[in-house]
Every structure is written in structure tokens, then in C-alpha cells.
């Protein structure tokens, strides 16, 4: 113990002290309000869910944004992807104190109670910030409207694509003259290609992510024009098309062309280490493979049923609900979104197809390889079904993944997977819609 001089008690009466304490406590609330705008600078809170390569790109863009906008105090916060982020977003918005801007998956829009948790975006204000509807990729832009109101501004389209290891595929003789993966049509042709690839790798043809079966299922089901419609507490699923999709998934693992059990990390590792010569995962893996120094190309999701439709989603900016949205901050939010889209070439480096056409059609993007190799996939994107429990990281995907995992593991047949999936849909439909 150090010995200090005994501090003299301040000569304040008890009553005065009490009054001061109460005053300080009371001013706490107002103090919070004034911290928001430091001097003349407009505070701009941004919440996002990007870690890894995407997170690094967003930080890089934010640093440039901050340097160009000394008048804006940008405060970006990254939350863990999936439920933790969406929970935080919803809770902030429920209290009317959400961030000024946040990122979401467009597939989650309906489940985020637009109009309550999300504020509508005035299209005119947006165009005066420099973003016109005509500059947006049509497919994703249309997805940003709920009941005729605009609730999101899309950043990108991201889809399942088909990666191929050039070295292995060349050895297997499945590349065309220009060094691109040979175009196949139908399940059998693709299976034949995988067999040739497996002959080289000795382990797998494709190093699939067996824990994320929803995405390939939806792509395969939509390639057959399968619809999943909801209404009146019931759903409509084309069982024979679903079974055909499940059978492709089962077949890849049963014939030893795909792993029986592989999570996201293992899938990347298998591909990087050459245990698989091709892999169908999201375009966001590009930076991972580039960093690993792999010589690879990217093609559209294979044609299994006559087309290249693929499962995908879109990242978008939204305005979480605020009780008091100052005009200055709203303007700044929209200006921020516009800046981020205009400078989206950095974001495109992460593999996402820009939703902002001036960037998507720029020479810089068109010469970016392998990113621009699959840019046509933006037109083939199939969004998840339109219901509140659907979308990236939402319950239907999670629960379906758990069942579909068994198709690869060999514990489910297409028939039991179908029964399991319809059970999930029935269970979810029984839950009252909370939005």
C-alpha cells in the first residue's frame, strides 16, 4: 500500500452533492445525444457482417471514404456473420436506435419486417445522391422492393460458381483449347467429367461443402423450373423435381466423386491441396484461393438440367429504423451508399458481381480475372424463396442444411431427405409470422 496524504473532503453540503449527482445522472441521456455529432462532423454508424476477405475489402474502402470525407465521422462495426448480426440489427432497430446504415442479404429483407425494423428509402433522394434505378442490375434491384416500397440498395450479386484447378484439369484433359473448363450438358456429362478429374486427384472430383447443401439443392431444383410457393399456411413443392435434385447430390458422394463430410474450411483446404479438381462453392472463396497461390479458373455453376441457373443472394445497404433520423444524417447515409457503389471495383475483387452497372460494365471489371469470367451468372441467379424464415443464415437454410448433409453422408436417401425437408417446411409454417 502506498501512503498518500489523506485527501481533504470537499466542502460541499450533502444536499448540494445529492443535487449534483442527480443532475449528472439526468444529463447522461442528453450527453449521449450530443456525442453523435462531434463539432461540425456528421456521425455515420455503419453495421456490417463482413469478416475475412470481404471484411478487409470493406475496411480498405472505408479508409478511402474517410480520407475523402473529413466532414463525416464514419464508425463501422462488424458483427459475426449470420444470426448474431441479424439479432443485433433487429434489436437496434426495434429500439429505434439502429445504425445509420447497415448491410444485409437481400434474401432476408422480408424477414426483417420492412416498414418496422427497416425504414423505406426515398427513390428520389437516392437519385439525388447519384444512384438512379437504371444504373442497377435489374434482377437484384427488383428484389429490393417490398409492397412497392424500396428498402435496400444492392451492392452485389453473389452466386455458387464452379471453380476448377487448371493444373489438375489440364492433366485430366477436361479443359478446352483456351484453357477453360469443358462445357457439359446434363448430369451424366458432368459426372463423367468428375470421374476424369478424380482419376488425376485420386481422392475427389469435386470437394463439395456437404454442410451447405441448401445452395446446390436450390440451384438444381431451379434448373428444372421447380417452384417453392407459400400461401395460406401451406406450401407447394414439386416433389419429383426435388427428388431429382437430391439424387444428384446423393450420387456425387455415393460414386466417391465428392466427400461424405466436409465443412466450409475443409472444402477450401481440399480444393487448395488438390484433393478435388473442381468445386462448386460461392464466389467469395476467390480471395482464399488467390492467396493460396492456386492456378484456377471460375466457370458458371454447371448445367445439370439444361441451363446455368445458380443459387445466389445479394448484399445490400438498408436503413435500420430510427426514431429520429436527422435530414443531414440521412443525406450523408445515402451519399455514403452511393460512394461505396461507385467505388465498388474494390468490392468486386472479392468475387462479388457488382450490382451497380457502371462498375459492372467498366473496363476495369471486365479485365479482372477470374472475377469477370462468370459475370453472366448475375442473370442466372436464383434467390431463395420469398418468406420470412427463408434467406442466408435464416432458419430454413440452416435446418435444410442439416438434413441435406445426410444425402452426402449416406444417411439419407432422396426420399427421406424429401420427407425431412417437407417436415421442416411444415414446422416453420406452423410458427406464426412475427414480422
Amino acid at each position: 500500500m502506498r501512503h498518500h496524504e489523506t485527501p481533504q473532503p470537499p466542502t460541499v453540503s450533502r444536499r448540494a452533492l445529492l443535487a449534483i449527482t442527480l443532475a449528472v445522472a439526468g444529463s447522461g441521456a442528453t450527453a449521449c445525444g450530443s456525442v453523435d455529432d462531434v463539432g461540425e462532423r456528421v456521425a455515420l454508424d455503419q453495421w456490417n457482417l463482413f469478416g475475412g476477405g470481404d471484411g478487409a475489402r470493406m475496411i480498405e474502402m472505408h479508409q478511402r471514404y474517410a480520407a475523402e470525407h473529413p466532414g463525416v465521422d464514419l464508425r463501422a462495426t462488424t458483427y459475426a456473420w449470420g444470426p448474431p448480426f441479424y439479432t443485433k440489427l433487429a434489436m437496434g432497430a426495434a429500439g429505434g436506435r439502429g445504425a445509420a446504415v447497415a448491410t444485409v442479404h437481400v434474401s432476408r429483407l422480408k424477414g426483417l419486417a420492412p416498414g418496422r425494423l427497416l425504414d423505406a428509402i426515398d427513390a428520389r433522394a437516392l437519385s439525388s445522391a447519384g444512384l438512379a434505378a437504371s444504373d442497377m442490375e435489374r434482377t437484384v434491384w427488383d428484389k429490393c422492393f417490398v409492397d412497392g416500397e424500396l428498402y435496400a440498395v444492392p451492392m452485389d450479386t453473389h452466386v455458387l460458381v464452379n471453380y476448377y484447378n487448371r493444373e489438375i484439369c489440364a492433366a485430366a484433359g477436361v479443359l478446352d483449347a483456351e484453357g477453360h473448363l469443358r462445357e457439359t450438358h446434363g448430369v451424366d456429362e458432368y459426372v463423367a467429367l468428375l470421374k476424369e478429374v478424380k482419376a488425376v486427384t485420386g481422392t475427389f472430383g469435386t470437394s463439395l461443402d456437404t454442410n451447405a447443401g441448401w445452395r446446390p439443392f436450390w440451384a438444381l431444383y431451379r434448373q428444372q423450373d421447380g417452384e417453392l410457393l407459400f400461401g395460406d399456411g401451406d406450401f407447394q413443392l414439386d416433389e419429383s423435381k426435388a427428388l431429382a435434385a437430391f439424387d444428384v447430390m446423393r450420387r456425387l458422394a455415393d460414386e466417391g466423386l465428392a466427400p461424405r463430410d466436409s465443412n466450409g474450411a475443409a472444402t477450401s483446404a481440399n480444393f487448395v491441396n488438390g484433393l478435388g479438381g473442381v468445386v462448386q462453392v460461392g464466389n467469395w472463396e476467390i480471395p482464399v484461393y488467390q492467396k493460396a497461390g492456386l492456378d484456377f479458373g471460375v466457370a458458371q455453376f454447371p448445367d445439370f438440367f439444361g441451363n446455368h441457373r445458380t443459387q445466389g443472394d445479394s448484399h445490400a445497404y438498408v436503413l435500420p429504423h430510427r426514431r429520429d433520423r436527422h435530414q443531414a444524417r440521412l443525406d450523408e447515409s445515402l451519399a455514403y451508399i452511393a460512394w461505396m457503389l461507385r467505388n465498388g471495383i474494390t468490392w468486386a475483387g472479392g468475387g462479388h458481381i457488382p450490382a451497380y452497372l457502371p462498375v459492372a460494365e467498366s473496363a476495369q471489371y471486365l479485365t479482372m480475372l477470374p472475377q469477370s469470367e462468370y459475370r453472366d451468372a448475375a442473370a442466372n441467379v436464383q434467390f431463395d424463396p420469398d418468406i420470412w424464415f427463408s434467406g442466408s443464415g435464416a432458419r430454413m437454410q440452416d435446418d435444410a442444411n442439416a438434413v441435406f448433409q445426410g444425402l452426402y453422408a449416406g444417411t439419407q436417401t432422396p426420399e427421406t431427405a424429401l420427407a425431412g425437408f417437407t417436415d421442416i417446411l411444415r414446422t416453420l409454417l406452423r410458427i406464426p409470422d412475427p414480422t
Binding site: R395, I431, P434, T435
Partner: protein, 320 residues
């Protein structure tokens, strides 16, 4: 326990002093009666009473009212829906499986936490030179925030290069998927919790041990009692009240398991570790269904009350 022992002694001290001054005992009553009622005490209690009412009592009441509504976090219009949240929660398999996980965690964690706390206290009660260091070491993890604790342990449990698995493979054994294997994930969380919170039980036991009068041991020594005999017939019986306290606190704490699990496994793999509170959190805050989540909360509330009452009955009977 430490505090209540000390309090009891002070109490008895006060009582003896009043007994000593026996004559004036007759005088005070009329003096008290004539004094005007003082409201000072109320003012001292008021701040806490207000906080208690606003942040505990009122939410408890409104929460119960919510169980009969389809109230949503989104602020969507909600209304009275009778008992349907209750019937749904009782038939929801996720409620039962996560309640089971909570009970498994409680069953696995409570005995080692109590026994290890006692064991460590017995070991260090007599340590002289290194005593402060040992006490510090055993209690230190308890002051760490849960995020730090789980981060340390997630690294320790890492497959491949984590300390635990690295040691195992170094010894020629096979790796264990500590947090990835459904069968061992819960045990991994229990081990982490043991390391993190045993310090509290340890502290309670240590304080109680220091409260046992030395004379009793001296008397036992005179009678030639062995060390084991003294432990069994003096120490443990005199620690009874502490044990009851530790057990009650530990059971309630274990039934409220959430943080470690959420941070270490998010309730996985395949929901094998998801405790009931996580399901409440998921239903209410992730799934927006405040009414339904409230109903499940009251189920857990009931479970905790049942546990506490049973425990109280068991121990208070023996106490008499």
C-alpha cells in the same frame, strides 16, 4: 458464507453486550415509542427499491403478461392469443432438447465445481509461504470476463495445433474434436466452466475453513485423532452450511448456463450443447417472438423454483 459467519458473530457480540447491561433493558421501550417515526431508512432503501421494481419486478410481471400474446420484437400489432404460446412450448421438441442440455450441464458441472472448490480450499488453507500465490492462482480466472475465458479455451481446444490436441498427438494419441464432436462438446464446456468459476466456491470454502476455531483441532489432537478423522468429523461437518450455500448458488448458476456455450459452440454441434436460455434468446431476439420466448422463460423459472424448493426441503430438514 464468510460474510454470514462474521455477521452471526457480530450479532452474538451485540447480544452479549446488551445482556451485560441488563438493568437499562427495561427503560428503552417507552423511549422508542415516544420518538416520532423516522423515514430516513426508507430513503436509503428507495434507490434500490425503485431499481428493483423497474428492472426486475415490472419486467417479471409484463413478461408473464406477454406469454399470452403474440408480441413481436418488430413491433407488429400483437394481441391476446390465450394459452397457445404455452401449449406450443410444451410440445416444441427444441424446448425439451435444450432443457435436457441445461440439465445435463448442471448435472455434469455442479459436483466437480463443489468438490474442486472444497479440495482446493483444503489444500491451501494451511499453506503458509506460497499461500497468497495459490489463493491468487485459483481465484484469478474468476475475475476474467467470459469472452476472454472462452477465447482462451477455444484456442486450447483447436484441432491440429491447439494445446490439448497437440499434446495428445505428441503422446501418440488420437485427436479429439473437443468442440466439434457432439459427444464431447458439453464436457469441454464443463471443463472450461470449472476452470473459470471454481475460484468462487473455493473462496467461500476458504473463508469458512478459516472460521473453524483452532481449539477444536487442538482438542482432537489431544485425543489423538488422525488427520483423516479430523477432516471427516470436524472440518466437513462444520462446513455443512457453506456446502449448502455453495450447492444452491452453483445449481442456480449452472441452470442459467448460456454465455460460455454461446461463445464456444453457438449451441452446436447439431444443437448438442444448446441450453434452454439460448433457445429463449433465439426465439425472442433472433426469431422476434417475444411472447413465445417469455413463455419458455417461465418454464425455466418453474424448473429453477422446483430445484430450489427441493433443495431447501432436503437441507433444512437435516439442519433441524
Amino acid at each position: 458464507m464468510a460474510r454470514s459467519t462474521a455477521g452471526a458473530r457480530e450479532d452474538s457480540g451485540v447480544r452479549t453486550s446488551t445482556e451485560d447491561s441488563d438493568p437499562p433493558v427495561e427503560a428503552p421501550p417507552p423511549a422508542i415509542r415516544s420518538r416520532p417515526v423516522s423515514w430516513a431508512g426508507l430513503w436509503f432503501v428507495l434507490p434500490f427499491a425503485v431499481l428493483f421494481a423497474v428492472f426486475l419486478l415490472w419486467p417479471t410481471i409484463t413478461g408473464f403478461a406477454y406469454t399470452f400474446t403474440d408480441r413481436s420484437l418488430t413491433g407488429a400489432p400483437a394481441g391476446y392469443i390465450g394459452w397457445s404460446n404455452w401449449t406450443e412450448s410444451l410440445t416444441d421438441p427444441a424446448v425439451w432438447s435444450s432443457l435436457w442440455n441445461t440439465l445435463v450441464f448442471t448435472g455434469l458441472s455442479t459436483p466437480p465445481l463443489v468438490l474442486a472448490g472444497l479440495g482446493l480450499a483444503l489444500l491451501t488453507a494451511r499453506a503458509r509461504r506460497l499461500g497468497w500465490f495459490l489463493r491468487f492462482s485459483f481465484f484469478a480466472p474468476f475475475v476474467l470476463p467470459v469472452a476472454v475465458v472462452t477465447m482462451i479455451w477455444v484456442w486450447l481446444y483447436q484441432p491440429g495445433f491447439g494445446l490439448v490436441n497437440d499434446t495428445l498427438t505428441g503422446l501418440g494419441l488420437t485427436e479429439v474434436g473437443w468442440l466439434a464432436d457432439e459427444r464431447v462438446a458439453m464436457i469441454s464446456v464443463v471443463v472450461t466452466t470449472l476452470w473459470w468459476t471454481v475460484g468462487f466456491n473455493y473462496l467461500l470454502y476458504l473463508a469458512a475453513l478459516q472460521g473453524i476455531p483452532r481449539e477444536i483441532y487442538e482438542a482432537a489432537d489431544v485425543d489423538g485423532a488422525s488427520g483423516g478423522r479430523k477432516l471427516w468429523s470436524i472440518t466437513l461437518p462444520l462446513l455443512r452450511r457453506t456446502t449448502v450455500l455453495v450447492l444452491v448458488l452453483q445449481l442456480v448458476a449452472s441452470l442459467k448456463i448460456f454465455d460460455q456455450v454461446y461463445l464456444m459452440t453457438r449451441g452446436g454441434p447439431n444443437f448438442a450443447t444448446r441450453p434452454l436460455i439460448q433457445y429463449i434468446y433465439e426465439s425472442g431476439f433472433t426469431g422476434f417472438r417475444i411472447g413465445y420466448a417469455s413463455a419458455i422463460s417461465y418454464l425455466l423459472f418453474a424448473v429453477i423454483i422446483v430445484f430450489s424448493v427441493v433443495q431447501f426441503r432436503l437441507f433444512s430438514r437435516e439442519e433441524v
